[in-house]
Subunit: 274 residues, 3 copies
């Protein structure tokens, strides 16, 4: 019953992001804030990094989408994250959990468990993190994925079914599931793993796409396609950027330029989805 | 009685920044620290991001200028900001307030009100923020300006007269006033709004120029011209950079290169000031 | 008895970094986290910015090397730094102290003194900071070095002998000593000082090289050569990058590209070491 992601769906959702544009609140780690904001701006979305207690909640009510990334979860930010997730649920704002390095580190692992109970709209992570989150794996070595995306599909399915979340597993082939249907995107370039925040910024892009999902986010197929379209746009852009760059340094500006320039023709010509 | 900003004034002040160079202390948001420091270095100034309690005050006494930007005002930073502003006043160090997203978010709005009472040397913001700060508007949607710079001139004039501050309103035409005289700069490029920190870093550049203002900062015309010259250098650089770039990603390195290279000839040929 | 650093030693250690690769934990300032992580990735190492109490210690036991950089030492990070240094010592993980702006600022100066007693594997700083750390100088003006690297050699020797640390002093000629033998590297480019984090990221690279030092870090000559090789790779890369760039903005991506591409031939052709 699974029907793959079409270029038309990706183009339609990208066009919505560019025309609205969604306001994406990011509570993210100190390493990638700049890159994440610039990725959202290049995409055509509006970033806001409102992550302090007392503001994170009110902002999540106004935002179009929220990213909660556990990369460097300082105490104030942990409070703000719970505040934002609760407010997002209350206001119907879609939110994405990126459980960076969960499993091996105690503070973020406890926080991830707490956030999971708040039922994130989507979870984006690498295979090791998804398996750790589902209690099925031992966790990765820091931010490295030591497991294959496909290997984490049982864990992802379990998470999706238990928490009602879309689960997106990053890897050479990205696997995105709602617990019933599964989409796969085989775009991307290894240079994306040679740049910090390569995965983290995809979490923010996913929040932007969820904000414009079919069915206003209440429809599981709409949310699945939105998360997959985010991954498609992001990894397609990486391919286009890698084709014009000499290394990880020049890849970053080329990635942002390519994201701002991505066309329906690029999507139709390059998308490898199933 | 208003006389516009001349290329000679801009060149003279830029030359002073490059030869001193001023030490600019930045208490700024986590998203733009890196870009802001690199902008100051490309300009020829010396950045220092000293923003913890117990150090922010002592450093503000030694610094040539201080930027206080409210983008992500964590608790420790809020304490440090008040400490820095008080010490700056005490030592005669010029300081710039950038009230990011003030109006709609409670923590920074309360802090901005408190900082305002300390009479910032200059305030740099977009039109929505200036109007919110003056209590005349409802505030913007996060960091987006939803109002026109010229529309915020009454609010800016009120702030300038009440607090003795230079007020610089960013927009396609930048409007800078001391409450009596007003200067306008019509340089710049839309790419500056597609890069995070495009406005924030101008606050730091403004602090660098105030440090070399005519009259040692005690003269209102000297401060007005310094703030306007900062805006002119910054927006002229954006124009030069945009002419050689393919998108928001390549714009950032081109902007820094162009800032380091900006010549008196560029200023004479390109400045659009009134 | 001092024998200079050879290209073969540099190439051998670089090759080890690229093949292992070491996991480098960075507790560093908010300005340079992104650049530091990207430098480590371009080098071929694996960065992790785990810097919160409760996680910093456990992570330092697993990490291959740790960087503790005092650029913006917020309260939680200070706790995490002590936790990481103690755990690193306990587990035999090499760690690098970068005492940014020590001497003139009270909070970090007290912390640096405390960390020094924990006997860092290496200390990397500019001449002013080394002299301040040794109690021999007045400290610099923020992050600027106002003293010559060679002038700081007595202070570095004192620190090396007292704390058993390798001390690396950055400057046009970098001076690296274990308190008995001293190595000097005369590569590099002034553009490295026009980019924020130019020195800070070298601290992280030093941690990566110490993780692959001859003698597993227990041998003083092995550690000295590892720290010097880190400096050599870093400053050689700066030279190669500067040759292809127009200014400080384009220098950053070129630096990362050149670091990822650095060859044994480049090292043999360009290394200026004694």
């Amino acid at each position: 019953m699974t029907i793959g992601l079409t270029p038309l769906t990706v183009s339609t959702l990208l066009s919505r992001v560019r025309s609205e544009p969604p306001l994406v609140q990011c509570l993210t780690n100190t390493v990638v804030t700049n890159f994440t904001a610039n990725v959202l701006l290049a995409l055509g979305a509006a970033p806001a990094m409102t992550d302090i207690p007392g503001e994170a909640g009110p902002f999540a009510r106004l935002a179009s989408g929220v990213l909660i990334n556990l990369g460097t979860p300082h105490a104030e930010q942990r409070t703000a994250m719970l505040e934002a997730a609760n407010a997002a649920n209350d206001a119907g704002t879609p939110w994405v959990l990126d459980p960076v390095a969960v499993g091996s580190l105690p503070v973020r692992t406890a926080l991830a468990a707490e956030l999971l109970e708040l039922r994130p709209t989507a979870i984006r992570a690498n295979a090791s993190e998804i398996m750790a989150l589902a209690g099925l794996g031992a966790g990765g070595r820091g931010v490295d994925a030591t497991d294959n995306a496909e290997d984490a599909l049982p864990a992802a399915t379990l998470l999706a079914q238990k928490y009602g979340s879309i689960v997106a597993i990053s890897g050479p082939t990205d696997v995105i599931t709602d617990g019933t249907s599964t989409l796969r995107i085989s775009n991307g370039d290894a240079l994306l793993t040679r740049v910090t925040g390569g995965g983290c910024a995809l979490g923010a892009v996913t929040a932007a796409f969820l904000a414009v999902a079919d069915g206003g986010g209440t429809d599981s197929r709409g949310r699945l396609e939105a998360a997959a379209a985010a991954t498609a746009v992001y990894t397609l852009t990486a391919e286009l950027a890698a084709a014009q760059t000499a290394g990880p340094g020049s890849f970053v500006p080329a990635f942002l330029d390519s994201l701002a320039d991505l066309t329906d023709q690029d999507i139709a010509a390059k998308l490898v989805a199933a």
